[in-house]
Symmetry: C2
Subunit: 190 residues, 2 copies
């Protein structure tokens, strides 16, 4: 998505070989028109699929995902981050984030997830793929099929892309970074 790559080039900050800050238009400050266009892009890419909900993990994926949901006329389901509950009425799974060096649980009410069978997963970033893998395990518990994965920015040089491809999922990333550094900037995958 050229519009997005141009925006990353203009307003993104490459802090290291692995850290790209997009606080000005995706994370802390969100450009709503860009989110709408991203939502339409994902919707068009996955429109042929039988999908009854869009899934994301709070909070970075909510803004783009709500536009995908609007466009495809299905609900958005927001998986919460939080401490593991032993309650019988939730599904939980654990995210092991190597990049952030922390472990946290994700959780969703059974009464919500049990209503869905075929979903798209939307998120802002793909790096090691840990958030997605935990989501996949969460959805498995409810026998929910992931019909596609939409990622805004993918760091293709990290393990997430290969891991997800190996599992056979249909993944579509709008901006794929092959490598980057503060000196040379970003080299795109294609």
């Amino acid at each position: 998505m050229q519009l997005l790559k141009d925006r990353i080039k203009k307003d993104g900050m490459v802090l290291s070989d692995t850290i790209l800050k997009v606080d000005k238009f995706i994370n802390q400050q969100v450009d709503p028109l860009l989110m709408k266009k991203i939502g339409i892009e994902f919707a068009n890419r996955f429109r042929g699929k039988k999908v009854d909900a869009i899934m994301t993990i709070e909070a970075g994926g909510i803004a783009p995902a709500v536009f995908v949901a609007l466009e495809l006329n299905v609900p958005l389901v927001v998986i919460k981050k939080g401490k593991s509950k032993t309650a019988n009425d939730v599904y939980t799974s654990t995210v092991k984030s190597f990049t952030k060096n922390k472990v946290y649980d994700i959780v969703i009410n059974k009464s919500i997830l049990d209503k869905h069978s075929n979903v798209l997963f939307i998120d802002d970033f793909l790096a090691e793929g840990n958030a997605f893998i935990a989501t996949q395990k969460l959805l498995e518990q409810a026998n929910v099929t992931i019909e596609g994965i939409g990622i805004i920015i993918e760091k293709s040089f990290q393990a997430g892309r290969a891991q997800i491809e190996e599992l056979g999922y249909d993944i579509y990333s709008l901006a794929r970074i092959r490598e980057m550094s503060p000196e040379t900037g970003i080299i795109w995958e294609d």
Copy 2:
């Protein structure tokens, strides 16, 4: 907003005199078309104001707030929940949530907030008003003026509404609950 009240009546669950669950269309599962309509409603109500950003706290306010931002053609700024940082490049403030019986910090990069001077605050719920009061203290540090407050569901019988009115803010709630109980259901404020 009658559409919203009807939806709360249909899909909301009054669990006690103080707890209303709207997991099916606002929180865990989000109805994107309802969020769009809510966004347009807030935008129309505050369109006359000079506003250069929409503010919300992650995560419940993001979906409605992004539609307000889109409609008013300004960025959305998402205040993060997290541990207090002593970093010089952030503003922080502390939320004392009596209802949830916990204390947490909210945080935003100075480089983001310093670019704005007049904002609208959008959130899903108003109860005791603690999240708003912490936000107000955060925005004060950057000399940002709150031009209006848009709330989806207000529990008018709790302290938030009175506290905010006393401070002189222009507050607009789409559904105001005067009282509620599992037996009698919801009695609306007006």
